[in-house]
Symmetry: C2
Subunit: 339 residues, 2 copies
């Protein structure tokens, strides 16, 4: 088969790779229905995160089970499944606490920008869609559940979004936009999206944003304070991962409010004493998507949510390089790759 | 009157000061029943926190109301009251959310190491003891409620201590010891106190510690992991405020667990990416003691808790300098000053 391999900054190639096989008896191999490019893929693509030689890319996936290892019990060939970017046994203590992305057997997925994919710990990682193979029209949303929706949902959950609460979302990438959708589902009363891009503002409003703030940094913080009568927001979702976005999130939050951060921080440093006096709650990390997958799949299948709207560019897999380029240049929010 | 004034490192003087007066109509003036020296007083005492000229000291207090301003409604002369180190109107949005130590009218108390004390925003700050003036034997515990107990209680609350949970307390100062007491009251199943000092270990056990860990740093973390079957603790109370203690707390916590930090951080820097991958919840700040005061006063008056045990040295106020010295040299856990 052929898959996407990153050779260096802005150098993604679609080239021959080994077909995935069952290695451990707990593995499954999937034939993907679709895959996509993640905002986090852009860090190494831009040369902002070092790579150690040519690197297979992709960690978002859904599709049909082709084959399972001898120890796989609940997952069967022919099932349509969605999995997380982090594998999990779903039985260890961390998994039982709902932190499957800290599973003692966690592996971060790679190589999903390809037609076939090996998934370790299949029973604990994969969730079959109830009612068999879903309609192709639902594939983009189910694919989104694999990471970007699950991460946006975790952002809202970790920021303690409650019915009637005031929520700010920092970042208008796909995760931020789906943080808006998640906050709406959790009953937030007011959802302020921080965005400067018209198409993203539009989608944010469609997903439930009640206000748009275009200012950033100190001006952005001042604007949030103004909109919240000087108090600050109850819940702030930091969906970028830079020092500026983190500071914007922390200082837009009221004392006793909640900041979540779900994008891998790059160069972020927190001054303990300053953080202390803000009085915020802080929680984040790689999203435990597996915790939320059954619920998210149900919400998608019954038509309550349509997170697949974040895919505003669809390309065949062999044009993966163009998919990266469009996201890098912010011409696309998120690229879906047809297998 | 005479009060304690810090002139520079290790230079505390007991000298003439102006008698406090009503300045704002919302003020009260108290005749203190007792006051004390705080662990946080040691930062400037040791020269580790700059002072801007001679500085009046003390922020823990309880006593009898001598006089109130014309706008004070609920607090009356003759009442015995306890207040927090941070004043609050108890009506602003931050107060209503339970973060009175972030009140929009907050002032940090000073000058409490003296016989008389002006307290701004008396109605919102002071809590009278039900049933009139308490027995003198209860004064140490009521004084502890003013800061060190309220802060230990907040540490346990902010670390989400739950019935049956595994709790670690980093720091064996008075706040850490009362964090142990608080965790016990909240039903923790296991309370691991990190302490190297025999007298403090003894008090920790008396307050409810089930295990003592003497190791620090990486060895301390390894020991906690060993005691928790490799998982880490559910709740960790960081009651020191140094880089080492903060790292010890964060890395002793399980993914998805809770770290509270209640001592003003000095030189603490957090790496955003490393924090991200620990998956912990982090919450702290100046303790909103006012939120907890009514409950803490009740627990003291009905004999459920005896936090006054942290005072292992009692001196007359004019020997305040010796009180600081004993704490600085760790000969005393906490010094009560008789007025």
């Amino acid at each position: 088969m052929k898959g996407a391999v990153l050779y260096g900054p802005k150098d993604i190639r679609f080239e021959d790779c080994d077909d995935p096989k069952i290695i451990e008896p707990t593995d499954a191999v999937l034939r993907l229905a679709a895959t996509c490019v993640c905002g986090s893929d852009l860090w190494p693509y831009r040369g902002l995160q070092p790579i150690d030689g040519p690197t297979h890319m992709g960690h978002e996936y859904c599709g049909i089970v082709e084959e399972v290892g001898s120890a796989v019990k609940s997952i069967k060939p022919g099932q349509f499944v969605v999995g997380s970017f982090a594998t999990s046994d779903n039985t260890c203590p961390h998994c039982q606490y709902g932190y499957q992305s800290a599973c003692i057997h966690r592996e971060f997925m790679l190589r999903a920008q390809a037609p076939f994919l090996r998934v370790p710990n299949a029973d604990g990682t994969l969730v079959p869609t109830p009612g068999g193979t879903p309609s192709p029209s639902l594939v983009p949303s189910l694919l989104a559940a694999s990471d970007v929706l699950g991460t946006g949902w975790f952002a809202a959950d970790a920021a303690n979004v409650k019915p009637g609460g005031t929520v700010v979302v920092v970042g208008d990438g796909a995760v931020g936009l789906l943080g808006v959708l998640s906050a709406k589902q959790m009953g937030a009363g007011r959802i302020i999206a921080m965005s400067r891009h018209e198409s993203r503002q539009k989608l944010a409003r469609e997903f439930g944003a009640t206000d748009i703030v275009m200012e950033r940094g100190d001006e952005g913080i001042a604007r949030i304070k103004e909109l919240t009568k000087g108090i600050g927001a109850d819940s702030v979702l930091e969906c970028v991962g830079t020092q500026e976005s983190m500071m914007q999130a922390i200082h837009a939050t009221r004392p006793g409010g909640y900041v979540s951060y779900v994008g891998i921080p790059h160069g972020v440093v927190l001054d303990g004493q300053k953080l202390f006096f803000t009085h915020v709650h802080l929680h984040g990390g790689p999203a435990p998507v597996r915790r939320f997958l059954p619920k998210l799949i149900d919400l998608i299948l019954d038509g309550t949510i349509d997170p697949g709207k974040v895919f505003d560019l669809t390309l065949p897999l062999d044009r993966v390089a163009e998919g990266y380029r469009a996201m890098d240049e912010r011409r696309a929010i998120k690229t879906l790759l047809q297998v």
